[in-house]
Structure formats: C-alpha cells, structure tokens
Symmetry: D3
Subunit: 333 residues, 6 copies
C-alpha cells in the first residue's frame, strides 16, 4: 500500500497516511442518533467526517483516539458536498519506526513554502546589515535569537492570513524586504527631511512589528488559540512589552526606543483594528503599508484558490468581505 | 490698594493681583501694526490682551516678561467681547516677601474645589479598606505613595474635563467612590457569578485607571502639554506600564495582574477613544461607566457655566458636540 | 414518582414536571418525513424536541396540545447537542388539584430572583422619600399604582436583558437605586449648578424611564411579543405618553414635566438605539448611565453563564457582539 | 425721496426704507474701540453694519433702538466684502400713517412667493377631496383650521429650507401634491397589496407630517428660535401629540390613527435625523421621499442662488455639504 | 390531465406543467447518502426538491436533465417547510407541438404584470414628447431602439427589485413617469432658476439611468448573473459608456451630454451604493429620488407578500434590513 | 540690486524678483476702509499682502495688475504673523529681455525637485521594458507620448499632495517604481497563482492610474482648478475613458483591457474616496497600495515641513487629520 498525503489522493483511492487528529466531538443527529465528528489533517488538507454508533471504530474512537495525537491511517478518500472525507480501514498511533517511512509531526501541519531556517537567517542578516545603530541592532538580534524556536514555527494568525507553520516568519520577512526597499527609496526622494528618515528604525520595526504574536497566540498541535493575555491585551501591546523588556539596561537611545514602540502599536493604523494610535512617524507609515499589503495580498490569493462560487467573481463571504475577480483564464483547483 | 483675584473684580475696578504669565506672542495686525498678545491668570480667571507698540510696557514686555513667571500687577479690569482684559498700571516679578500678602504659585492656577491632601488620604484609605488581596493592595498603595507629589497636582486632562490642579485626583476619587458602591451592589445582585465579581479589582482599577496621565501629560506653570511618549503611546498603555513595573517581583497573582492591566487599557471602551480592547470583564465594565459618567457630567456642568448662546439651549460647539438644555430657571454667571 | 423542575433533572432521570407548552410547529425533514417540533418550559429551563410521525403522541400532539397551555408531564430527561430534550411517558393538562402539588402557572416562566411585591414596595417607597415635589411624586405613584399588576409581571425586554417575569421591575429598581445614589453624590459635588441638580427628577425619571414597555410589549404565556403600537412607535414615546396622560390636569410644573418627558425619550442616548434626542440635561445623563450599565452588566453575566465556547474567552456571537473573558477560575455550569 | 426695498437698491443709491431691526450687539474691536453691530432687514435682504462710538447715531442706537421693532430709515446702500451695509441718514420708528405708504410688518420678513391664503385653501381642498375616511378627514381639517393663523405664517425651518413666512405651508402643499400623485400611481401599480395602499392616509400624513413645527419653533419678528419643548422633544413627537390630542374622542379607527402617528415620527427616516423608527409602511415611505426631495431641491436651488465660489461648482460649505454644479450657462445674481 | 401552472396548484393535486429547469446540484447527506437537488420553475413559482439515489428518475436526472432546458412534467404538488416541491410522475423535454397547448419559453420565467411592448412604446412616446432638444432626443430614441430586444426582456436586478422579465422596463417607465411629473412641477415652482431646470434632461436621464444594466447583467434561462465587466466596472459606468458611444459624432451640446453622463453615474447618490459622485445638479437630484422610491416601494411590497414571520411586523432579515408593518388587516397569501 | 527668489530673502532684505501674480481681490476692512488683497509667487514661496487705498500702487493695482501675469518686482521682504509679505518699491511686467536675467514663466511656479524630461523618459523606459504584451505596451506608450506636454507640467492634485509643476509625473513615476518592484516580488512568492500575477498589467496600471487628472484638472498660471467634467465625473472615470479611446481598434486582449479599466477606477479603494469598486484583482491591489503610500508619505513630509504648532507633535488640522510626531531632533525650517 502506498504512503501518500491527503492532497495526493483522488476520490476512491486507498492509501496509507500519517495524520494528526484535530477534532473529536460527541454529537447527536436531529433524530437522536449519536455519533462522533472527527477531524484529521496532514500538511496540505483536512478531512472531517462522522464515526457512527454502529461503525467498527465507534468504541476505539470513544475510548482511545485523542485530538493532538498522530496516527498512521489506511483509508479510502471520498469527496462529498460536506468536504473531503475518509473511510478508515486501519488506524494506529504512530511510533518511532514510522520515521523511517518519512513521518515527522511537523509534516502533519500546513507549512510555509519556504524553509524556516533559511528565512530566519535572512531576517538576521537584514538586521545585521540594515540597522546602523548598534544598540538597536543588538536589541533586534537579541529578541530574534532568544525566540528562535517559536519564531520558526508560529503562524501569523489563527485564520486570516499566513495561518501555517512558519507563517509569522514568512510574513515578517516579506514585510521587512519591502520596508527596506521603501526606506531606501523615500530616504533618497526626501533628503531634506529633518530628522532624516530613520532607515534603521524601519528595518527594526518591520522585523518586530508582529513579534507580540509569540505571546498573543498559543500554538498547539490541534490548532492555534488565543492566550488569556492575548485576548485581554493583544499582540500590539505585547510586542511593545517584549521590546521594552529587551531594552531595559541597554544603550538604545530613548528617542529611538520610543519611535520603535510607537511603530509597533500603530502598525495596524485604524483604531477599529486595534491600534490605539495611528502611524505618527514616516517610519511607522511605511511599515503599516508593507504589512497591510502583504496580509491583504495573501488573503486575496487564498480566496482565489479556495472559493467555489460559480461565475466570474468569488462570493463576498470571505475575509475581505468583497468579490474577487477570478477572470476567464482562472483555473480553480 | 486692595489685593484681589481676577474673579473678584468688576469692570472698571483697580486692584493689585498676583498673576502667572501664561502667554506672550509677537503678532502684527492686518494693517502691519506690530504688538504682543499676552496672557495672565490666577486660580479663577484668565485675561488675554494686546500690548501695543506705543504702550509704556512695550519694551519691558519684549525684553523682560516671561511666560511661566509670576508677577504682582496693579491693573484696571475691563470686559470686552474678546473676553476679560487688564490695563496694567504697575507690574513686577513676585518676591519672597509677597508670601506675607498671601501669594503662592499654586494660587495662580485653577484648583480643585477639594483639598488635595484630604482627597489623597481618602483614596489611600479606600485602597486599604477595599482591596482585600494584600499584594494587589500593596501595589496600589505603592504606586500612589511613590507618585504622591505628582498626583496631588496633576489635572485630569488638558482641556476636556477636570483641567485644573488636583483634577486627576478629584476625578479619580469620584470614580472610585462610585465604583466601590457599584461593586458592592452588583456582587450582591449576582452572587452566582463564577468567578465572583472581584471587588478588590474594581477598587484597584478605579484608583489606577488614569494613572498613566502622570506620564502622558507634562504639567508646566504656563499650561499642560503632551509629553513625547504621551503623544506616541498614550496614557492607557503608560498606566499599564506603571502597574507592570510595580508588579515586577511582587506576589500579585498573575490572573489579578492581567485583569488589572486589561481594565486600564479597556476603560475608554471604544477603539476610536483609544482603547485597543473593549471591557471584557465585569470589573472593567463597571469602571468604564463610572469614568465615563464622571467625565461627561463634569463637561455638561462646565458647558452650562460657560456657554453664552441665547435661548433655552447652549450652542452645539462644545466638547459634547450637542445642545445642552439650560432651562428657564437657569441663571448664567 | 418525584415532582421536579427541569433544572433539577440529570440526563437519564425520569420524573413528573409541570410545564408550559411554548411552541408547536409542523415541519418536514429534508427526506420528506413529517414531524412536529414542540417546546415546553418551566421557570428555569426549556426543552425543544421532535414528535415523530410514528410516535405514540403524534395524534395527541397534532389534535390536542396547544401552545400557551400547561401540562403535567412524566418524562425522561436527555441532553443532546441540539440542547436538552424530553422523552414523554405521560402527559395531561393541569387541573385545579395540581395546586396541591405546588403547581402555579407563573412557576412555568423564568422569574426574577427577587420578590416582585417587595421590589414594588421598595420602588414606591423611594418615590415617596426621594421625590420632594408633591405633584411629581403623585404622578409617579399614580402611574405605578395604576399599573401595579402589569409592573409585577413584565419582563424588561424580549431577549436582551432581564427577559423574565418581574424583569422590568428588577431592572427599574436597580437603575433607581444607582440613580438616587449618583444624584445625591453629584448634587453635593456641584452645589454651584444653576439650576441645581433636580434630585426629584432623577428619582422620578429612573422609576419611569422604561414604563413605556408596558405598552410596547405584549406578554403572553408562550412568550413576549411587540404590540403593533410598540413596533410602530416604541416604548420611549409610549412612556412619555403615559406621563403626559397622567399629568393632564395635575399641578406638576410645566418645566418639570418637560424635563421628565425629555429624560424618558433621551435615556437610550444614541439615535441608532431609538432616542430622537441625546440627554440634554444632567438628570437625563445620570439616568442614561445607570440604565445602560445595568443592562450591559446583566448581559455580560448572562453571556458568562451560557456561552460554551472553549478557551479563555467566550464567542463574539452574543448580544454584546464581543468576546467576554471567562478567566481561568471560571467554572461553567 | 423714493420708498424702495433693499433688493431694489444699487450701491451708492439713497432711499427711504421700511425695515425691521433684527440685531443689536455691543462689541469692541481688537484695539479696544467699542461699537454696536446692528442688523436691519426687509422681505428680500438683510444689512448688518457697525455703529461706531463717534457716529451721530451712537446714543440713539444704545438707548432707543430695539431689535424686533420697525423703522422708517433713509439710508445710502453700500456693498462691501462684509456684505451689504447701510449709511443711515434718518431713522424713526414706524407709525400708523406709514401704512399709507405701503408699510406692513409682514413685508419686512422674507415671504413665500405664493399667497398663503390661497395655499391654505388648496391644502384644505386636498384634505376634503383626498381623505375618504370621514373621521380622519375631520381630524386633518380640524387641525388645519384651528392652527390657521400659525400655519399661514410659520417657516419650515430656521435656516435649512423654506425659512420664510409661509414656508411651512409652501413646503407642506408641495409635499402633499407629490404624495397624492404618487399614492394614486402606486395604488394602481400594485392593486394586489393587502391591505391596499391607503391613499387617505398618504394625503393626511403629507399634510400633517411637519405640523409639529408649530410647537417646535417660536416665531418672533427678529427671528425664529427653538422653543424649550422643541429643543428637548422635537417636532416629530410634537406633531404626533397634536394628532393624538385631536383624535381623542373622535371616531378615527385605531389602526388608521396608529399608522398616521407612525408616518409622522418616521418621516425623516434616519435615526440620526431624529426619526426613532424608519418608515415601516408603504404610506410612510411615500411621504418620506416627497418630503426629502422637496427639502433637498429647495436647498440646491438656494445654494445655486447664493454661492459665490468661482469656477464651475459651488463651494462644499453649504447645507448639503457637497459641490453643486453651476454650469456654464449659470448666471449668478 | 389538466395543464396548470405551479401557482394554480394546491397541495396534493396532480397536473401537467411546462417548466424550466433552473438547478441541478449533486449533493450528499450528512450520512453519506448521495442525491441530486433539482429546481424547476414557471412564471409564478419555483419548486426545489431532492432526487434520491433510489428514485426511478435518478439515472435520467444524472444523465439527461439539463438546467436551462424546458420540460413537460406531470407531477403532484406538495408543500413542505423546505418550500413547495413536486413528485414527478412523467417528464420529457418540450417540443414544437407543445406550443399548441400554450407553451412558450418566456412563460417559464416571472414576468412583469405589464405588457413589455406597450411599455416600450410608451417610453418611446415620452422620449418623443418630453425631450425638446433634437440631438438629445435622437440619442435616447436611438439607444432604446437599438437595444429593443434586450430592453423588452431584462430584469432590473438579480434579486433586489423588479427581478423578472421586463423588470428593467417596468422600473424605467415608472421612474420616468414620476420624473416627468416632478420636472414639470419644480420648473413651475422655481422659474427663477438660472439655468432653468432642464426638463428634457430629466426625461432623458430617467429613461437612461439604468441602461447600463444591459451590459452589467447577463440574462440566461436559468438565472441572471453578472458579466465580467459588470462585476469589475458596474452599470453606472457602463450606462455612461453607452451614452458616450451613441453621442460620438452627434450634435448633442457638450454641456447637455456632460450633465446626462453625470446624472447616470450619480443616480445612486451614495458612494457606498456605487456612485462616484453625488447628484450635483437639480436634474440628477430628481431622477435619484424617483429611482430610489420606485425600488424601495417594490421591495416593501415584495416583503409584505413573502414574509412569513408571525406578529404585526415582518422579520428584519430582508433586503431593507428593517421590520415592515403588516397591520391587522394584512392578509398573507 | 541682486536678483533673488523669495525663498532666498531674509526679513528686511531688498532685492529684485521675477514673480507671478496669483490673486487680486477688492476688499473692505470692518471699519469700511477699502483695499486690494494681492498675491505674488515664484517657485518656492508665495506672498500675500494688502495694497491700501493710500498706497502709491493703489491705482496701478486697480487698473493694470492682472492675476496670471508675470512681473519684475523690487521689494523689501517682511515676515508677519499673516505670513510673508512684500513692500513693493518698483514693479513692471516682464519682457523678453528678462530671459537674459534668467526669467522663465515656469520658474514662477513650484516645481518638482526632479527633471520632468528625465522622469518622462524613465517612465517610457519602464513601459518599454516591463509591459510584455505588445498591444498593451503600445497603448501605454501612445497615451504618454500623445499627452507629453501636459504630463510634463501637471500637478498630481490641487492641494493634497505633489501640488506642483511635474507633480503628477513625479508621483506616477514613484508609484510605478514601487509597483514594478512589488509585482516581481509577489509573482515570485506566489508562482501557483492561476492566472499568474500579470506584471505587465501592474506596470501599465501604475503608469496610467492617475492619467485622468489631465482631464479632471485645468492648469492655469494663477492656479489649478477642476474642469466642469472633472467636477461632474472625476479623474477615475476620465482616465478609464482615455484608455478606452486609445484601445479602440487596437489588438489589446479584451480581458487585459477590462482588468486595466478596473484597476484605474478601483485604485482609490474606498467608495468615499470615489472608487465605485474596490480592488478586485491582485494587480489592482498592488497599485492601490503603492499610490496610497506615496500620497500619504508626501503629505506627512509636507506637514512636518510646514506645521508650526509648538510641542512634540504637529496640530491635527492638516490633510491627514491627525498629529504627526516631529521628534526632539526635528528642526523646523
């Protein structure tokens, strides 16, 4: 039996899969028939389906299966109007030996298309090259290095955009690249600015703008949730906290620190998006636009990939709350 | 010559006054005539008037008078449609000996009608009696005591409400009294709440909700202005900073600290008023309402006292952006 | 067989219950199977479940059971993901003799936790003590006394808050208590107000602010609905009507009457909440805040009691349209 | 010396005029020079100008001239960038004999271009012909007849539109004509409506939609102001009061009365324009549109007549808060 | 067997029908049972129901039935809480011979109650009589005549109002009639306007205000959808395009053309409704109001006909997002 | 006497200047004193000052000076609180010979800091290199070339940003550079997009997004105003017109043309900013962000250069309607 991923399967095909259990919920049909609604996923797709009372798996499901655990599953793939499902033929928890067949827990979660280690190194390199002021550079490098493990894994959001392993890093690197480009450009356009545009600050701010997500979100195998502090305070303020904690005792000039704090809390611009202040410095303005475009672009790409509305435009029921044009050449997968 | 205050004078009267110079601006009339626009104030009133080029005070005004300095002035009081003015007959800077005549710098600024020392003591007493949890009580008492001098003087805002010496304290005490009353009331109404309403938290939150104004505002003799950090970050976040700094190393339960931080940043409720999160706990909800009513009530009282619009209602051009009803019995001062 | 209430039962338990039928709807499954969806409730809980075509109760349900009627039911209690349900074993309409077993129609509706008679007496007492102006006091006492029966029973709203027998009274008394406290407080804070804060008006306004609900809502055993005039005109205007009708021919000073009318129509403050005018008097401002806090606090308590979202915060899909923080100590019932 | 009106005069011309004094305000220039700012008007134009301290009229102005009184003035007309002014040569209060020269107090206020008596008769005639239900017709005719004197004079608003003697009547008649036309039209278009479109109600509602302005506004010679009740309650509710008072004891069907009350309070549609309910009946929808168009059209005509902004469009600083296109053919007067 | 329409049938009745197939969707129940969801309609009603796997029609449905094709169906009519359904007894595609029994494709779509040919002629007649300027009249007549076939059939919108064959024409004629009435009226009211109200422009603008719908919408037998250009550009701009194309090379005065273009793009007034400019001319203002009322009135009539909410008002879940009053006399069909 | 520009002069200095007259308005002081308010400017600064009745220039000013004409002026520079002014000593219209002293009309208007010819060439070069599709490239090159003269001169707006000669070109080039950078970047990030990101379209759209300003604005020596069509239709639609006119008869694929038209009308994103549709394609999204950032950045730079508010932040009364942080290092010119 071949070992495949869910994305590789076609309707009716049988194969072995390494899957993460994402959900198990005890429910009852309107007619009173009890069943479990279970979910499994690997890096590219998720299946959700019922285990009926009279299924041969009913007892195991109830007593043994655990969300957050990993399973080797033999199953037949089906496509229904309730989404993709699986007929389970065999199932057992994964074991060490499965590594030989290519199993690794992180392979069961959606992943950035880019290598996290490489992205991390590039981010560090930009910090090293683009932040001229030593104390500020030290602060940025310090925060990255100390949170390396979390930065390599964290998604950028629970649902809205870059919601996959390494998503925060992918988004941050993209924002930083654009921000560095624009800082150079506008510093050249407006040499008369007083004080001059602070390119170090733009780079530092772009790298750290979403760093508070490390505290706001709580990443678990079965899904990412808000931490209590994340819900009550939010990543803008938490990111500023991380900067202030790292700056304590450093030589970073107070004016630079203040502008960096401001940039972080202002980067969402609108109060209804959570920013208590709008961007009040040119540096904060640049980072806001880089961030906003990168998130909105990712959303639009995702909408074009997943929307199934017939006709030339997608439905309006998406994260952008608007139609997106698919075009006549658009091929939906 | 009697020593009076500006509020005691009637049009045409001459007297000696102890005044703070609040403004000196060099201007030119449309016809090209140069003059200085100067301002003086004591606790109850401000006068603003021109010193023309041909005035006997023109040279002294230009070379010697300094905003923020205190003067003994002999003058004749006038009322004009540009507001109250003063014809200066004599003027000199105040000296130590003036104390014997009752001069004190704080008498030249608008004051709370209540004694700051007494208000401060009452606030400390409420903290002592109403905050059951010792570490939380210690944190509140510590913050108050360490900032005693500033708390005794600070206004609650630059213009909007309680904009006078001791205004922050007056507002805070009023909010705290109402909050304590309501916490008792609703704890009794809803004994089934789980967790129960945290009355200690309500008291602590009410006392500290605006504490960040000590960092947001910069109180100078000639007027209160925003500090750089106040403009870029704001008092909600700065108040939370003060609490976090004071809590470092203390025994305060993390859950209590988090709820207190949330209460402070959420107390203005609406994002467009600067709160990045709405009140998400019953305690934060109570403090928000106490604060909002106290501020709005003070605004309405001030509008009724100062508006000069004819007819039964005031103008809409005020801080509430609405008509206020003066009533037929209303006597305008 | 024990006589219990729905709230006392655990899954699988059988007992006798006195229940009000709240709904009977003839429906068809997607597969074309016809059934009745029926609802029953007592003071603490409601059960909704299907009566299938092949049920022994199918004919009785169709021909005899009537929404709004009361039944003695023997049933087995079940908990499903469609909410609590009941397996009916026996059912008959209630009769006079059931009173001996503790049955009373009002016991089948959710009730205020406070005794209506006692709340009514306290409200009257506040009117008597706190409204100094005799004609105004007479007007308030008259309206309360003439509508005593309705006031004792009416909910404060159909769904939003205090939606139970006596809810209007519970809410009104709570608002009045806070309003009286705040009127005393602010009258003392601002003795210079001209005209002085009218504490009689605050008490009268707090007592009558929602009185129009007696005309807006139509309370029936099976649920509260809007009356035609309630839908087309609304309780703010209807409450003002009741005051104007009661004031006709009385000695109430026109200025007091006008301020009271204004207070009632302005108490929701925002035009989008139905107030054609914002609070334009200090008295109206106070009553608005007391009312708004009392309603929002009740909503937040209810959300914390009923939300079943996992994690530290509730869902946003509630009457406040925001997350509420449950906290780590929070125990959900 | 010819007797003219202000509109007939050209710059530099001298003439006799019958004028109403509209304003007298005691002011001081920035340089301390005292003066009176006075206003006079007749039906077509207003002049506002200073009476300086050294004017021969200074003492009379201070001691004798009274806003609201009528004067025969001989003056020279001037046009300045502060608007049209008058050099007074002679001035005395009007006397009975001036009637012989054509003076009448109402000639000193801006007037509807249509004869009020004739408009009133036409409105009564429409009520008689278009309101089929006798009790409803009687109610409308009764309200009009009892308020005949006020209806003949009242403006439709203080500033916004139809702000002249007879303006309420002109606006009401125009709205009623359109409403009657549309009621006939849509009754014919949608004969299947159940209940059928109530054409009597449309006519009655159109005639009475703004009747509350008689109570909201207080028309004085020197200008129209809000009454206290107008400010605190507003003409929508006051118009409904007038209808309810007139309906007391009549045979008008409760359903018709309720729909009429609703139509009046809903005719401004948006809550921010003061309507506590949107139009919820087809009849209310029709009257809203007739009213809104008639007011907006009058505003646009007035803007085109008075705006002096250069270029193809008017300024945005007008009651519609938008540019209006003047066009190349547009000739400004 | 009688030949009926769906609207003529009562529950349980069997008849022959000529129907258009509107939908065929392959679905699966939650339990994994596959089925087709099919829809059929004639001019007055639509039925939607499942074809189960074990139905005798399952194979034909899968292989032969085609949305957009016409069928002669013998069926039994059923009413369920999922809406009206049909038990198919016989089914075949229509053939030429069916014309003898009254079949015509257009009879299978909802129709305007008015004869399209007659409406078209009246619209042309208004153009001929009411547009005085020859080049403008020629332009309007030309556009109508060249698009005659499409104008006779097009609905005014996909769902919101006049969503039936001839709906655009019915709406346009109604708007034009009112606009012509109002243009005459206001031209008479304001003879002093400079330039005078352009009645030709009002008529032309009313006739052409929605003409861009011919390009925005793509009318197919199975339903109307947005064209790609309609989605990306919209009918306001497309209507202006049609006018500009028709005007190329004509003698139409540039000022008239410009005002007509403006009228078309401004006729929805609010930017959030798609108008890039508000009505800036009196002519555009009139057409906006005629259009808005005609659409809203049709919506309200439709809501009253279709809403099934119990009680005196409809649900708020409708295109107007508000309650509509049904009234006590209201009989729901 | 030296020949200087206004920006080179210091208070009290006398020099010769080449100036454009920008304004001449006949006014009267409050005291009735008549005067002319005149304005003159060169590339870097504008002076506005009164010519009094008794000035030696009064008659010449009234009879000869003309806004839009150029003058050689000898004057003394003064700085007042009404802004910079000039005491005219000599004045005459410029003549051909002045060219020898460096006079050229365009030097009297504010200029882009970049050479227009060079910017134009770069824009053409980008079009040539970055638009792969030949017909689309031809269309863009054609529009640029045909409008070369206007493109070289036009400002990007009347006031808001880039309001100087060559401003439209400077802004367009900056937007295009960023857009080309981002198109490359996101095409690389999302290679799986179907259809792939159209980089030609991004380049074409960036170049043409504001091209309609050539029709919207009417550039005159004395200032830029809206054309009639600009006011009634606006540059978004006018830019789309220019593209459609240029595309008529070309081989440009309809799908590309449609996407380009959409990009232009959607580039301001929000309906309240004039876009009838939001960006519905990834290409339109990119251009919107490039445009918005470039405009906002220019506004913020201008605010920092011109605001004179004391303290760490600027006033809120600016085009961004918010405070901008000046910082402690900020030196105001």
């Amino acid at each position: 039996m071949p070992i495949l991923t869910l994305s590789q399967m076609v309707a009716g095909q049988e194969a072995d899969l390494f899957l993460l259990m994402t959900a198990k919920e005890q429910l009852t049909t309107r007619e009173g028939k009890p069943y479990f609604r279970v979910g499994f996923r690997d890096s590219g797709r998720e299946v959700v389906f019922p285990i009926w009372d009279n299924s041969p798996w009913a007892v195991d499901c109830r007593d043994k299966w655990t969300p957050g655990a990993f399973y080797k599953v033999r199953g037949v793939y089906r496509e229904t109007n309730y989404g993709p499902q699986l007929d389970i033929r065999k199932i057992r928890e994964t074991c060490d030996a499965d590594a030989a067949d290519g199993f690794s827990p992180t392979l069961c979660l959606p992943q950035s298309r880019f290598d996290p280690e490489q992205m991390f190194d590039e981010l560090l390199q930009i910090a090293g090259e683009r932040i001229a002021e030593p104390a500020l550079r030290g602060l940025v490098e310090g925060i990255l290095t100390e949170n390396r493990a979390a930065v390599l894994r964290m998604p950028a959001a629970r649902h809205n955009h870059h919601a996959f392993v390494g998503g925060l890093l992918e988004h941050t690197l993209s924002v930083t690249r654009t921000a560095v480009y624009l800082a150079d450009k506008y510093a050249e356009y407006y040499p008369e600015m007083a004080p001059p545009l602070d390119r170090s600050l733009v780079a530092a701010g772009a790298i750290l703008h979403d760093i508070g997500k490390l505290r706001e979100l709580d990443q678990r195998p079965e899904g990412t949730v808000y931490s209590a502090a994340g819900a009550l305070v939010g990543h803008l303020l938490q990111g500023r906290d991380m900067v202030r904690e790292a700056a304590a005792g450093s030589d970073i000039p107070p004016e630079s620190l203040l502008r960096l704090e401001h940039l972080i809390i202002a980067h969402q611009r609108l109060p209804e998006w959570g920013s208590p202040k709008p961007p009040m410095t040119p540096e904060a303005l640049i980072v806001h636009y880089c961030d906003d475009l990168d998130a909105k672009f990712a959303m639009m790409v995702a909408i074009l990939q997943t929307d199934t509305n017939p006709g030339p435009v997608t439905s309006k029921k998406n994260i952008l709350m608007q139609h997106v044009y698919r075009g006549e050449e658009g091929i939906r997968d």
